[in-house]
Amino acid sequence: MGKRAYEASAGLWRSVIGFAGLAALPLIFSDPFLLGLVTLSFLWAAASLAWNLSGGYAGQLSLGHSAFYGIGAYTSTVLFLKAGVSPLLGMWVGAAISAVAAVALGAITMRLKGSFFVMSTLAFGAVVHISANNLREFTGGASGLSIPLQPSLVNLVFASKLTFAYVALALVVTFFLVTRLIAGSKIGYSLVAFRENDSAARALGIRTLPLRIGVFALSAAMTSLCGTLHAQYYLYIDPDSVLSLNLSLNLALMAIVGGLGTAYGPIVGAIIVTTVYFAMQAFLGDQISGLTQLAYATIVIVVLVVVPSGLGPEIGRLLTGRLAWRR
């Protein structure tokens, strides 16, 4: 077996073992509190994988992804409540709307450099957030929308929280495969080349604008699907929970903590971040509001300054017992 084939099959086996481990988690942690932790980790992992596709590989650091998450949550919920459309169908409508919005936004903002792109997506997220607060006939405004608890597959509402954990895991696996597929293709290499040095990439004749807009739209649609799932899990949505700037920030920060621009990074990051959140809440409660976020921000700052490539690669190195310079 050649070295390359060996590496590829080793990578495949590592992924299979990793996902088998993830699949075992909901069975091991069956206590409702811990099952909630596992399920949310999966949901965040999926959303962060979606963000990472555009933010990590293409380097388009969007802080407006909450808009797509919210569009997904609101589209499926409003269609279900007003027209009785199954969320199984509604989630795709939401994804389509998000993709169209992303193409429109991308057409305007994709030529902006670094921080300018960040600020423009920030403004986009804020515009959608304010709109949701004001379009009261559709969104219920700040008081939000509730989904009735009628468990059935068509309603995408499950009596057992365990089922939901596996639905979220299915999304994680799918998004992981999509990421691997794109990262290993010519599109992925073009995006990384552009991210690392845009003028060099251009000099080599790599045209990335359509690719970046396309991947941005795909990432938006995937984020939107996570939004629908969020609505179906909590059975309640309001603008602050599915459209806030903090949500966008979290999707990005999980990918950064885990390892930006890697397929497994967002999963590692989501599990670490969600576990820290739950642990802080369990030990400190909500007595002192802000303490959990303070701890979270501290972790992020330490990771950014000390291990900017993320904890995922570090953990991987630790597990395989290899040092970076030996590779």
Partner: protein
């Protein structure tokens, strides 16, 4: 007709303060090429400092600026040394998110220390006003506006007439050439960042008798500052001042005619339009914001 003039005047007054907030942000970007997403939190900190000096020691807000501004300058020096300098050569993603995480950190530190209650500095002269023709002018707002304009002018003079000011301008133009001519670029970075914090600190002092403060005050203000900085042209102090006054007036009209909620919607929309059609703003240098499209 009088209402239009009155709205323009109150917009202009608040615009002067917006300009002071934005000048610090644009200066830091012009020299360090870093957008400080935690800029708003320094405003909040200055407002809290003013509040406590007022309530614990009975310091008048205008008087306490003598203490608050140097403190904010010192805080800026510490931040630059601990977080900004180590990440200046880091990938773009680290630069963006380190100041974002700092913003989150400071916001929640303030939340833990002081809860999310609103606190108000109530001075005896808060409602004092005089009349010119049909216009009512608040002494407090006029004083804050004059102080803000004076500070902006002082900054411009500092940049133009002192050695450090020339060094800052040289570094903003070309950091490599500045280093070659013997400018201590690291010191320029530290002073510039600290100046940015001191300026937004001064704005915080001036805002505190006008607005209540809680840990999220700065985060709300900073979004306005982004709009102003981009509209004026990233890195341009004259641009930020002009855009600050303009946005103040626009906000004053839109909140009167469209209501408080919609005013945010209006300037975000303006923001997207500026970025789409003229991302260099009024006086920005071409090339900082847009890349060749392929």
């Amino acid at each position: 007709m009088d209402i239009y003039a009155q709205l323009a005047l109150s917009g202009l007054f608040i615009g002067g303060l917006y300009a002071l907030i934005s000048v610090g942000l644009t200066l830091v970007f012009g020299v360090l090429r870093v957008v400080n997403f935690a800029h708003g939190e320094y405003l909040t900190i200055a407002m809290f400092l003013t509040y406590f000096l007022f309530h614990q020691f009975g310091f008048d807000p205008f008087l306490s600026s003598i203490l608050v501004i140097p403190l904010m300058f010192g805080l800026g020096l510490v931040t630059e040394r601990l977080l900004i300098r180590p990440t200046l050569e880091a990938p773009h993603v680290v630069q963006v998110f380190v100041t974002f995480a700092l913003s989150l950190w400071l916001q929640n530190l303030l939340l833990v220390l002081f809860t999310s209650d609103f606190r108000t500095v109530r001075t005896g002269y808060a409602t004092a006003a005089f009349q010119i023709g049909p216009l009512y002018v608040s002494w407090l707002r006029l004083g804050a506006f004059v102080a803000a304009v004076a500070l902006t002018a002082a900054l411009a003079a500092f940049l133009k007439y002192t050695y450090m000011g020339s060094a800052i301008r040289a570094t903003a133009q070309d950091r490599r050439s500045a280093r070659l001519t013997g400018v201590n670029v690291d010191r320029v970075y530290a002073v510039t960042f600290a100046l940015g914090c001191a300026l937004v600190g001064a704005a915080g002092v001036l805002l505190s008798p006008l607005f209540p403060v809680n840990p999220y005050t700065g985060a709300d203000m900073i979004l306005i500052a982004f709009v102003i900085v981009v509209l004026g042209g990233m890195g341009s102090i004259a641009g930020a001042t002009l855009a600050g006054l303009l946005i103040g007036v626009v906000e004053s009209y839109s909140s009167y005619f469209l209501g408080g909620e919609m005013k945010q919607f209006v300037y975000f929309l303006c923001f997207m339009l500026i970025l789409a059609f003229r991302p260099v703003g009024f006086f920005g240098r071409k090339g900082a914001e847009v890349m060749d499209v392929t």
